[in-house]
């Protein structure tokens, strides 16, 4: 069991999100950085679809009431076990009664905590993700707070063996960490309404830098930078949006839609972030900058397929390591 001694800024139960319910207006939710989430699960020997804790900027304080395996992937929020700094991107043994804390956010904004067996909460509409706005799903539909008691599901026999076998708190292998950048270059595919924008906007989107504004959250990242505008005011008919849609409201400041985006929107979309670059945005903090670069649809899909192959390779090498646990 995980006893929450402090909730942190926003710590919520998330998985890969809800699919199939957007036509009913139900937002997808799910992790902001799917790559880090999937790796954290794989490292501890979980299915990548299991629920993890998404920890944002100011981490929680958690006491573990029994021995278990954990992994932390994503943004580096200076994790500590009983006061000693611990490493990320590898499997760790959490001993009974030890306490996990976090410190300064060093690089990145969101850290994923995977626990052997996965975070155990009831599924709602096929997912364990917290739908914060509707107050449902995950753990009581909300972020974690002091006093909450979170359970993990049963470990596999292999995970139990791994736990018994290791007296050290750190396993000696790690997954190459993802590099997050101070001012990333985000690749975008031109949006459906790209051609409705005026010439300077069409140019500035790819040449100027943008800054993440304070009004950024799981729903969307609001950006500040050059003012983008349509060639002539056009009233659009609402249609579906996606994770990474870059839409521009009439104030001219683009918004990148993230995990908790609404299902439909009526603002013009100047672009769409390539799926492989979504983690880079999810890990940005307020005040950080970013630049956009064009990518073709074919290239974006190719990169995504390569990323999936990469994950499969990591999975295979983890499985090799797991042989040693037997």
């Amino acid at each position: 069991m995980l006893k929450i001694l402090k909730g942190g800024l926003q710590t919520s139960v998330q998985d890969l999100g809800r699919t199939g319910f957007q036509k009913y207006g139900v937002i997808a939710s799910g992790v902001m950085d799917p790559f880090a989430h999937r790796l954290a699960n794989l490292i501890v020997g979980n299915d990548e679809r299991f629920a993890t804790l998404e920890i944002s900027l100011v981490g929680p304080k958690i006491q573990f009431t029994e021995d278990t395996l954990i992994a932390l992937c994503g943004g580096d929020l200076s994790p500590k076990m009983d006061g000693t700094a611990i490493k990320m991107w590898r499997m760790l043994v959490m001993k009974k009664d030890s306490i996990l804390t976090f410190g300064e956010p060093r690089i990145g904004a969101r850290c994923y905590l995977a626990v052997a067996g996965g975070i155990k909460v009831a599924e709602l509409m096929g997912s364990r993700s917290t739908y914060l706005r509707a107050g449902i799903g995950g753990f009581q539909g909300r972020s974690l707070a002091k006093g909450d008691e979170i359970h993990s599901d049963e470990m596999t026999p292999l995970q139990v063996k791994a736990l018994k076998r290791n007296s050290e708190s750190e396993f000696d292998w790690l997954i190459p960490p993802v590099r997050y950048f101070e001012e990333p270059i985000i690749r975008i595919i031109k949006g459906k309404q790209f051609d409705l924008f005026n010439d300077s906007s069409k140019e500035q989107i790819f040449t100027e830098a943008f800054t993440v504004s304070g009004n950024s959250d799981r729903m969307g990242y609001r950006l500040e930078g050059p003012n983008l505008a349509l060639e002539k005011p056009t009233e659009l008919i609402s249609e579906a949006v996606a994770f990474g849609s870059v839409q521009v409201p009439s104030d001219g400041n683009p918004i990148i839609l993230m995990a908790d985006r609404q299902t439909t929107g009526g603002y013009p979309k100047i672009g769409q972030v390539a799926s492989v670059d979504l983690p880079l945005i999810a890990q940005l903090k307020q005040g950080q900058g970013l630049r956009f670069k064009e990518i073709s649809l074919v290239d974006a899909q190719q990169r995504l397929i390569e990323q999936e192959q990469h994950i499969r390779e990591i999975k295979a090498s983890i499985q090799l390591k797991q042989e040693e646990w037997k």
Partner: protein
């Protein structure tokens, strides 16, 4: 039939079936959505119908954009008139005015009508649900009379209680969950529109016909009480 395709990023395709909100386009949107969901191509993840578009989320590791587009074109050719589309009619009871509908008077004055006339016009419209979006179970309903159209509030309310029925422009709808919003509020329904525990979490679906029916405050509370009892 005429349709244009465009990528919605690298994991979805938007199919546009018309460029204005009308019955014919709406019918095509529904037919395509139903056909896709019954065929379940292996690349399909989910379908989001809207006013004039059907957005289809797919797995690019199974099929690339060009393949999905080609298969969608083939599907479109099969959208004959014979594809049966069932239409449900759903009655939504509304208690108008008072604390449930604080803007009923404003809507009346704005249109030089009495509150009673607004209610009569609102309950006699021929409504259909164009799409569900914005919030879980939130219906965009067409078919409201221009006679009771009203502008959005200058500054949106921070909290609108769930199940409140409102008017914005010539649209009407109801807020399924508590949310901020700028619509003019004319009443409230005791019926839950968002039902997360059900297999289909939204009472309303695109294509449904709607009838608004006036109920008394007493009937409203009885209904609400009954519903709460069922849920505990």
């Amino acid at each position: 039939m005429k349709a244009s395709f465009s990528p919605l990023g690298d994991q979805a395709i938007a199919v546009e079936l018309g460029n204005k909100i009308d019955e014919e386009t709406e019918k095509q949107v529904r037919k395509l959505s139903v056909l896709l969901e019954s065929r379940q191509p292996e690349w399909l993840i989910e379908v989001i119908p809207a006013f004039t578009t059907v957005s289809v989320f797919y797995d690019p590791c199974v099929a690339t954009y060009d393949v999905v587009k080609m298969e969608m074109k083939e599907l479109l050719e099969q959208l004959g008139e014979d594809l049966p589309i069932q239409s449900r009619t759903i009655e939504i009871p509304v208690c108008y005015g008072g604390e449930f509908g604080p803007d009923l008077e404003f809507v009346a004055q704005h249109n030089n009508l009495t509150a009673r006339e607004v209610i009569e016009i609102h309950t006699s419209g021929d409504y259909s649900v164009h799409m569900i979006g914005f919030a879980p179970g939130f219906p965009f309903i067409g078919g409201m009379s221009e006679k009771i159209a009203a502008p959005r509030r200058d500054s949106p309310r921070l909290r609108i209680p769930e199940r409140t029925v409102g008017i914005a422009g010539n649209q009407t709808g109801a807020y399924p969950i508590e949310t901020p919003g700028g619509w003019q509020l004319i009443g409230r329904t005791p019926i839950r529109l968002f039902r997360p525990e059900d297999d289909i979490p939204s009472l309303l679906q695109a294509g449904d016909r709607i009838i608004f029916k006036e109920i008394s405050e007493r009937a409203y509370y009885e209904w609400e009480e009954e519903q709460n009892a069922e849920n505990t």
